[in-house]
Amino acid sequence: MIHIEVRTLGAPRPRSLAGSRADTECAVAAAHTMLRCGSRHTLGRSAARRCAARALGVPERSVTIDTGPCGEPIVRTGAGRTIELSISHSARLAVAAASSTGPVGIDLERVRATDVQHSEWAFSRSERQRIARLPVPHAGLWAWSLKEAAWKAWRLGTGPEDVCLTALRVTAGGVASRARATSRLSRLLEDDAPRTLYVRARPIEGPDGSYVLSLARAPRPNTPAAA
């Protein structure tokens, strides 16, 4: 099961967090709206702590979020169980996802005009061709968000260039794709790590406009392996 928490910069603190450390961090984030970068980071950590506590079934106060060598969030808890965690923030929203059933990656992008779909750095030639055929506004931004989510789920590699979107398509709720680890990334992954992930993106509304929220997860055990 995957738990997701979304937080808004400057929003009133969630009632359910009263008295916890997350509550304090939320209040700090709200009070320092001008320091957007630092506030978003704090807000993301706050959402992550809440998410991790729900996934582990433990009180928030027993969960600490640390940072790993590649900047990835790591959950420390006295409960002895481990979960996967991912955080993202963009403009005035922060989001976190926690999974006790395999890798998870999350990405958030505020929707705006961009020409990223033409970027040779962001996308391979075949990906750019797939994006050009995707019948949605801001197709490049959707694809970028999917790719970021997948890359974050694997937690390794040098960047999104280690991930290939192989089956971009429009779904009822947004956009989805399979994401394949490149051979370079595959060599870095543990033997039992999935080499293909499913990624779904959907629109969400924030206080300052629309956002794209993408979530990457491993295929379910009874799902045929993706090509």
């Binding site: 957007r36 970068c37 978003r40 923030h89 963009s90 990405d107 992008e109 961009t114 020409d115 990223v116 033409h118 970027s119 040779e120 750095w121 962001a122 931004l141 970028w144 968000s145 970021e148 040098t158 960047g159 999104p160 260039e161 370079r184």
Partner: protein, 85 residues
């Protein structure tokens, strides 16, 4: 194209694309993250700068750049004329 001219292009793109960088002094030692850039904004700045400067830097090399100085090093390397045998 000198390093200073490349920096002018990068700074202009940073200020156009990254809201938190507008009106701020931008130095080679800065990272785009220092101005609150998200991943998409970084991609846009680098992609647009490479296009304007007519440079091609391998994607795996670009990912190693930690700040603007590293990025300029890569751009300078890409712009250097290939020695003829």
């Amino acid at each position: 194209m000198t390093r200073e001219e490349m920096m002018v292009v990068i700074v202009r793109n940073i200020q156009e694309i990254i809201e938190g960088a507008r009106g701020r002094e931008i130095l080679e030692s800065h990272s785009m993250r220092d101005f609150g850039a998200d991943s998409l904004e970084i991609v846009e700045v680098v992609s647009r700068s490479m296009k304007e400067l007519r440079l091609k830097v391998p994607r795996t090399d670009l990912s190693t750049a930690k700040n603007l100085s590293d990025l300029l090093d890569l751009f300078e390397k890409a712009a250097a004329p290939v020695p003829t045998p």
